[in-house]
């Protein structure tokens, strides 16, 4: 087991390095470098300006060299400078990563807490009225275009019934009122984004729970367990649910990986100050340093979570073994 994990970690590290080069290369493939963009927006930039800027930004060097320089400065702890916002990257990204993390964790927790029981309940009584209602709700949740849902939520809860703010991360310009008041203030701003993210995730998770659970309940050992006279709840949770975990873990791991890359659409519509919108803008505006750091974070998260999922398989199903 330990050798397996070490090997996987090493593999993952290698993939991260390779992938970050691929990302760097992809960025350089995108038409128009930062100086081109500058030229396009300012008619007065001269040929000398272009040359000077390219040299200043290091754009006159080949991609691998630039990548090398970038890795070099990263390893020294310098994440670089955002050319779009004109601030160091860590100052720009730190609070936003935190905001996105809060948003994702909140919606993930909420949706898991609701989705798993819903999925199990409907799997236990397939074809019942409860099952129908849960299914309808899940399917509707999966099927609503997210930005559309977000706008509708704003119209209902911020404009029509002015209960919640239409957008933002926290109240601007208020005096600091202490930890709890701040927390309350921020939660108010979280309600709508979390709601709009959760409605979709609940649909997804409860569908997967349901089908995994149905599958598990059909196994012979469930019948055996029942025949042995084990209590219903013990059969459900100890035997069936454990077997339903594998597909669930896969899906969960995949969702976890999006934790830091954020939800571009939701963040944009709610003007939520997260990292998703930032990443999109940094790519569009060719803000290399910001974009690369986000790539590395999102790539590492995905790989890490896949690793966790693979390890978790082993615990969930003893038949899966890693040599």
């Amino acid at each position: 087991m330990t050798t397996f994990i070490t090997r996987r970690i090493l593999q993952t590290l290698a993939v991260i390095v390779i992938l970050s080069y691929v990302c760097y290369y992809l960025m350089s493939l995108m038409p128009g470098d930062p100086v081109d963009m500058m030229v396009a927006s300012n008619p007065k930039i001269t040929a000398e300006d272009v040359q000077r800027l390219k040299a200043l930004y290091g754009l006159d060097q080949p991609v691998y060299k630039r990548f090398g320089n970038w890795v070099g400065s990263i390893s020294q702890g310098d994440l670089g400078y955002s050319r779009t916002y004109r601030v160091p990257v860590q100052e720009l990204m730190g609070p936003r990563l935190w905001n996105t993390f809060i948003l994702s964790i909140a919606s993930l927790t909420l949706s898991l807490l609701i989705a798993i029981p819903l999925g199990v309940i409907s799997a236990l009584k397939p074809g019942s009225r409860t099952d129908y209602v849960v299914n309808l709700f899940s399917f509707a949740g999966i099927s609503i275009p997210s930005f559309w849902l977000a706008i509708v939520l704003i119209i209902i809860f911020a404009v029509k019934i002015p209960l919640l703010p239409a957008g933002g991360t926290q109240t601007i310009g208020g005096e600091p009122l202490g930890f709890w008041a701040d927390l309350a203030d921020r939660s108010v701003y979280l309600v709508l984004p979390v709601l709009s993210l959760s409605i979709q995730q609940i649909g997804r998770f409860s569908r997967f729970t349901r089908s995994a659970m149905l599958e598990a309940m059909r196994n012979d050992f469930i019948r055996t367990a029942r025949a042995k006279g084990l209590s219903r709840s013990r059969v459900i949770w100890k035997h069936a649910f454990r077997n339903a975990l594998i597909p669930l873990i896969t899906i969960l791991a995949l969702s976890f990986s999006g934790l830091f890359s954020g939800a571009i659409l939701t963040e944009t519509v709610f003007a939520y100050q997260g990292v998703g919108k930032l990443v999109y803008d940094s790519i569009i505006q060719n803000d290399y340093n910001v974009a690369m750091i986000s790539f590395v974070i999102s790539v590492s998260m995905v790989l890490l979570m896949n690793l966790v999922a693979d390890i978790a398989y082993g615990f969930a199903d003893p038949r899966i073994s890693y040599q």
Binding site: M30, S41, I151, A166, T169, I172, G173, A271
Partner: protein, 563 residues
Amino acid sequence: MLNRIAKGLMLVTGVALALPVAAAPTNAELKIGISQEFETMNPLIMTMSASAYMYRMVGRSLVNLTPEGKWVPQLAKEIPSLEKGTAKIIDEGGKKKITAVWEIVESAKWGDGKPVICEDFITSRMIATSPTVSVGEKEQWTQVEKIEIDPKNPKKCTFKYEKAKWDFYQLAQFFPVPTHLEKPIFDKYNKQKEGYEKNSNYVRAATNPGLYNGPYVISEVKLGSHVSFSPNPYFYGKKPNIQKIIVKLIPNTGTMEANLRSGTIDMISTLGLDFDQALAFDKKAKAEKLAYDVHFVPSVTYEHIDLKLDNPVLKDVRVRKALVYSINREDLVKALFEGKQQVAIHNVSPKDPWYTADPGMITLYRYSKREAGKLLDEAGWKMGADGYRAKDGKRLSLNFQTTAGNKTRELVQVYLQNQWKQAGIEVLVKNEPARVFFGDTMSKRKFEGLALFAWVSSPENSPRSTVSGKAIPTAANGWSGQNFHGWSNPQVEKNLDALDLEFDAKKRAALVHQILKAYTDEVPVVPLYYRSDISVTPKSLKNYKMSGHQFYETNNVEDWNLN
């Protein structure tokens, strides 16, 4: 039955959308919505419009262009001129140069009480021209060769310009920075590449009042979210009425209106709504008697179509003329914009003193399908049975590109496509994200036919960068310049050079009119319309004046009043 359902649905949504109105804002606080990103507000480095919009509240330059299009002094006591003798043309080693005496307003102070002095201009010039600082365009700084401070008065100095240009006094972006705060940083980090930018007070301590000299200072900055402003106690001008201003970023224009109606913001800035939205909101505000004014002010943003003159089809001037003849721009403006934006006839806007619509001076094109047909027939493009024109078995077909996702442009594009179809010209839409469109397709001249986009200029601005043959981007000049169509005309070149050095306003206009004559005769560009700037303000906001050019309405923010 279906009719009833449809009506029912309309009713339901209608009811759901009939909204309560937020309380009217007071002088205590004004929240402005903006839909474009902003950056750190270092006046030497910033390039984004949203930052420029906000910076005008906290920083002023020597001179300023009023909404009426007149240059007036701002930080300076007066504008130097040859007539008054405060500016002189001198001869230095056979080169004509100009010197001008500038004097800063006596009471002008930075937000920490220190006076604004000529030294501050020297500092900003020094920083901006440093090779380690990534300032895009250096010309506006290098045009001032030398600044000499009057030994008796630190607020008085003489600028020496490297060329004797008539517009030497238009130093709109020549912002001072506080020497006492920024100089030590520059000295310390000057050696390091981009060291100054990373460590400047504008980044590290953006709320230091000493960095600003406008009616307001910045009290809070959150990039990607908002900026708060509070009055500057040391401001030399009128005391601002509004005690707190917050500019809030709402990246999605679709929710801008919801934010306005729910009271998250009180007004929408020039950089806020899409045109179609504003049009609809205007009607709605009037119908529901909402307490908002929607302003439409003609701007200097020139929407046009660049024609790639290297394209064998477009090489023929008759085809280019036919393209103009066969579109009804008056109808376009009426139908799509309800007359709230103006038809463009060339690249000088009606706001500009250089403007002319005199048919004796320039060539005008009235919508005429017949004229277009005649020209195309002459050029050998004959109408075929399929409704398209063809020559030598090849269909008259052109690619048409613009920035994907810009709704108004896509609307205009489809409208034009339809009109050209009626004239037998096939136009194929091939749009790209702005990133690709500007960063590659246009700047490297990879477009093949028509390209729809806009130029933002300012009144009395030389059209050199878009019409001079020297401004055609090539690999050799690092793809600089914006003459994407590739037009080149010797007479125009001559006039452009003469224009810079002509100190007589009438003669300048005459030179420009000659350029316009060639421009409208040879049609390297299809002029479409001038955009209008749009903003939404609460009815109670007084003294709000939009300019339509790069000196945003925030330039007179101290006059705004909500009482």
